[in-house]
Symmetry: C2
Subunit: 221 residues, 2 copies
């Protein structure tokens, strides 16, 4: 077996072990957790902040924010009242379970109702790394174009819910929603999908309903 | 030294060797070549097709098109009269010099005036792999947001020209051009920048002028 394949397998198996530990920890706290993946600029942070706006006073949110560099997103989240921890991957193209495990140690897990992990903006690498969260969520955005499921099948295949962001831009962009949805349906039949706009607020209520129902379900209430 | 660092170093050094071979081959043919990198959906293919529209009849263009899966982009290019070869990385998050070397063998290099390599849509991984092209070009797009240079410094630091695509969407999106440009200037002082729209055609002439000047310079005419 070539060296690089052996090393990749070792890395993935190590990652899965730590992901199990994260999952067990989050289960002990009955904390519903999601791993949000998307292209750079699809609106991960905006969607998280918009979601938090809707649940403020009802639920306390923790956030693990992955970026190559900078703490722009975690700063925004902390200013909004989310308990956020920044992870800088220093060039790494995705979060892994160990990074999330380190971040969990810095969060007041007992005081939280849900945890959002914002992955590095990338449609390729994050798809291969289980972080130990309950659900994997993909955010697509209208300006990215309607062909993305066909070009990045791996990430569309592996997620539990899909948010289609920036639908307010549909009048200004050529985007064939049927072609897009057909691609998604081939890869991930019946995938629950939320078209939203963080600008107009369209669709946010449906997404937040799904999110809060899962928080309650995990708490067992 | 840990195994994965050793393997990474070996991979990068092997890549650089093949990149040198590609560079030598393209130099022999006096073929100006660019490696276009961008986020998924920033408009790499649209910009290439728009460029080709402007130079049709004057120059013959070859294209190497990298994607995880599908041949959507290469098909579009071939239909437009570009000699295009598709590379499917099968999950790999970037092109490498060996993939480009294999593709070059399938192109009629002697009949071409310029070569465009369209990398996998990704702001992280492609930055580390020299393909042997003359210039590395980054396409940013307005909907991605003005904070991208701060979040993905590696790729902004390593390029020779920057295209800012989809400027026709500026009226509909909050995007602080000064904040964006300030970030670029810190990472890559004096970087030549082309704001363009493939929809309205704005800015295309300046970009095409730069591109064709480089074709002539490489030919030595």
């Amino acid at each position: 077996m070539p060296d690089h394949i052996k090393v990749s397998e070792n890395i993935l198996s190590f990652n899965d072990e730590i992901a199990k530990i994260n999952r067990k920890l989050l289960d002990e706290y009955k904390l519903f957790s999601i791993n949000i993946m998307a292209s750079p600029g699809a609106g991960k942070t905006s969607a998280i902040l918009k979601t938090f706006e809707q649940i403020t006073g009802k639920f306390k949110l923790g956030m693990v924010d992955g970026d190559l560099a900078s703490s722009i997103d975690a700063d925004k989240a902390n200013q909004s009242g989310i308990s956020a921890v920044q992870i800088n991957t220093g060039g790494g193209c995705h979060l892994d379970a160990k990074m999330v495990n380190d971040a969990l140690k810095k969060l007041p897990l007992g005081a939280l109702d849900a945890l959002v992990v914002e992955n590095v903006g990338n449609l390729v690498c994050p798809a291969n790394f289980d972080l130990g969260t309950d659900k994997n969520i993909l955010i697509a955005s209208i300006p990215e174009g309607d062909d993305k499921p066909y070009k990045y099948p791996g990430i569309y295949r592996g997620v539990d819910a899909l948010i289609i962001n920036k639908v307010d831009l549909l009048p200004y962009i050529e985007f064939d929603l049927n072609y897009f949805k057909k691609g998604v349906e081939i890869l991930n039949p019946g995938l629950v999908t939320f078209p939203i706009s963080c600008v107009s607020g369209e669709g946010i209520a449906d997404w937040v309903k799904w999110f809060t129902e899962h928080i309650f379900a995990k708490k067992g209430t």
